[in-house]
Structures are given as C-alpha cells and as structure tokens.
Amino acid sequence: MRPFAYERPTDAATAVALASVPASAHVTAPVQYKGGGTTLIDLMKLDVMQPTTVVDITAIDDEAMHRIVPSDEGLRIGSLVTMAKLHADPSVVRDYPLLTESLWQAASQQLRNMARLGGNVLQRTRCLYFRDTSYDQCNKRVPGSGCAALDGSNRGHAVLGTSDQCIALYPGDWAPALVALDARVEVLGRTGKRLIAFADLHRLPGTTPHIETSLSPGELITAFIVPGGPRRRSLYRKIRDRESYAFANASAAVAIELDGRTLRDVRIGLGGVATIPWRAHRAEGMLRGQELTEANARAAAEAEFGDARTREHNGYKVVLGKATMVRALLDAQAMEVPR
C-alpha cells in the first residue's frame, strides 16, 4: 500500500472541502472517502486504488446520515447506516423486504457491520483482471490498455450493458433493489445539495469504463430516498456458487402489486448479470396490466435478455438470469403479505 494522509472530519462540509480536488473521475480522485473501507482498503492493498488522502467519513456527526426515517418523500436512509443496521430494522424488514433480503444475503456479518450503504452502492467490480495489477490490459484500471477479460476468464462477467471496452459485472446486491424502487440519491457537493435518480448514478461502460458514476470528484452521498411504499409484496432472489457468502451469479429484486392475478404494478431490478444495477424496463412494460402467469413471466424474461451478449464462459448467465427473474416474480405472487 502507498503512504496516505488520514483525515477524520466531524462534519460533512469539511469532508467535502477536503475531497473536492481536481480529478478526471470520482473513483480515481486522489482524495477518497472511507466508510467501512471494505472496498477501499482492499483495493489500496492491491494497489488498484492509490489515494494520497483518505477521508474517514464515519465520524461525521450529522444525525441524518446515520438514521433511517420515514418522511413525506418516502423512506430516507442515511448513507452512513451500516448494511447490518438496515437489515435488522423491523419496520424495513416488514415494509420493504427486498431492501433487507438483498442485504443479509450479501457478504458476511463482519463485513455488513463495517460497510456503510454509501460505500456499498459504490463497490467496485470483482473482475480479476481489474483487481490484479500484474495484468497490463484493463481499460477500467488503465484507460486505453485493452480488456483482458474479453478473451480471458469471463465466467463472472456481464451479459447485459456491456461494451467492446469492458464487460465487468456490477457485483452488488442492494443496488438492484434501489433501482427497481426508483430511489433517489442525495448528494452534497461544494455548491450544495442535489438529488439524482439512482438509475443515473452508475454509468454504462461504453468507451469510458474508468468513469463509473455520475458523481463529480468530492461529491458525498448523504442519503438514499425510496419513494412510495410500503412494498410488502417484494423480495430478493440470489443464485450463487455456494449457499452463503458469495457474489450473485444472477439475482432479481422484485416489487409487485396485484389485483387478483393482474399486475397493477411491477418493478424488477437485476443483479449478477449486468455492468450496472439493471432495471428490467422491457420486461416490466410487457407485464404491467397483464396476468402474472409463468408463461407471461417467461416471455418477459426472454425479451429482457434479448440483447444479451455472451463471451466464452458466461453464456449460462442468460439462462440463469431469466430463470431467476421468473422465480422471483412467481415467489412474490405466492407471498403471504401482512396487512
């Protein structure tokens, strides 16, 4: 690891002032925030991230960043809430099962005690060529160097939202739930606060896979706002190589509302298959207002994965992704929902 200065400000404005330095992207800026550090410190040890200053944000003394509160705009979740705290909140467990199931099935309890939700959504890809600096080719790590995964070991790589420059998977479990619920992100910058749609936070790789988000260098995520709800008929289904403590091979976060068998509302976020937290707009469009049957769900999944682009080892993700989406929808239909 390279030497770095360590700062622990107690207010958000000071943190933002420290981190607002010129840089080409939020993720490559020389000043990086540290929440739990479970992505940052890991990647600093691997020399993939090389900040000169680490700004620890966990001591920021702003109640609103540490709390979960229902508000007029919806559920407001502070960015410094830990993964563990959110999945243990009884009212969120009852009212938003997809938000909590996607968390307790992620990582391990030790990591969930450390990791904060702001850092969680910004976790980096697990692409092994990205994580290992002995590989020369990685457009995300070294822009313009090529992509070793295209013709390398790509079993864990994305099939949706890819480009010729990068097929890295977005690995997180919580973000697909947020994208399905039309969540918004509250961001503090040097000129004040702004709200962005969660769907606009992550950028498709395109020709610039090294620019991962729409955040400007130094911008601090302060909260997530989940409008509408409660979403009691919702859940998260995750398929992985072992039953626990592994990233998703495919996952689906769904929230539905039923009139008898008819889908009054349907929201689907996919994980483990795409370069960004993936909103299944096409499938939702086909299902909204229709009866939820296995045949309809299959047809919608078929359409959603219609543009999937596979490489040598990841073709299974198309089959698994579709099956996971169908199962999540049917399981949500079968849920006993408390009134």
Binding site: P3, Y6, K34, G37, Q109
Partner: protein, 198 residues
Amino acid sequence: MNECAVDRRTVIATGAVLAASLSLGSAPAGARASMDTRTTPLTRDITLSVNGTDHAIRVDTRMTLLDALRDKLGLTGSKKGCDQGQCGACTIHVEGERHLACLTLTVAVEGLHITTVEGLAEGESLHPMQQAFIDHDAFQCGYCTSGQIMSAIACVREGHAGSDEDIREYMSGNLCRCAAYPNIVAAVNQAKNEMERG
C-alpha cells in the same frame, strides 16, 4: 504479494529500529518505490484500547489493525488468513461488534474498544464459547479458531444463533479449511445456552 505485506515482514525481521527509522521519513525499499512519487510513510501517535488496556503506539497510517495487534502489541491470537476480507480468521470485536481486523485501519479505531481472543478468558476460566469449542472438538489445525470464536460470540449476542440454519448462515464469513463446520455449529449451540443463562 502486495507492498504492505513486504513492509510488514521487513518490520518483523528487523524490529522496531527500522520501524522507527521508517517513521522518520526514509523511503521503504522495494521495486515500486521508484514508481511512486509518495514514498514517505505518514505516522500518527495514537492510543489503542485493547482488552481493557490502553496502549500508546505510533503507527503508519497504512497499518491495519490486524498488523498492529500482532506486530505492535504481540497479540498473535488473531490470524491472517487471506488479508482481503474473505476468510474471517482476523475477526475481532470493535465496540462489541464483529469486524475484520485485516480491512480496518488502526488509525480509524482510536478511542474505540477492541476485544481480541486474548481478552475472553477471566483468569483461568475460559469463556463458555472457548470451552464449547474444546468440548465439541470444533477445530482441527486451529488456524481459523480464534476468528470462529470471536464471530460465534457476536453471533449469539446478535440473536442470530436461533437455529442450526441461522448459525450456518450467520457464521458463513468464517471459513474453515479443515471443515470442522458441524462441530462448530454444535459448539455454538452449547455456548448459546450457557451465555443466555448468564
């Protein structure tokens, strides 16, 4: 191996003299040093509270809590399995919660209460979880054991040891290469009852 590990070995091998000289600003040796414009380690004087005792130490900002415990304080009960947050061998408690010491910066836990496996026993009497691991043969080589025990105690306190299924799910962050898993579940069940009785 990453640079941090190289630094750590160097420090172990040559002891505190080199550690002190590094902190005074001489550049660490190594292939990467020439490529790096920032070779001067930055240090902090901090007080670390471990198992009820305060330790005044000087640490490089890069030093993980795991390295500080093992190399600065000589508390080698916490193990380094992967050093990447993947195995749980380094599990310790920070303010009573289970965390991974290998992904924790020492400077970030100043002022917080840390408990390691060395802090569990009271005199000659073992913590019920330690005793349960012995009673149930819940280890073979023992490398993962201190992490398992620290994790298991927190698992019970969190209320995540209600069933065998829960124990397996909430202990999944602690890998055991010897696959002592069934015995670990049995040990947690035994200790749970004793811990709940008080």
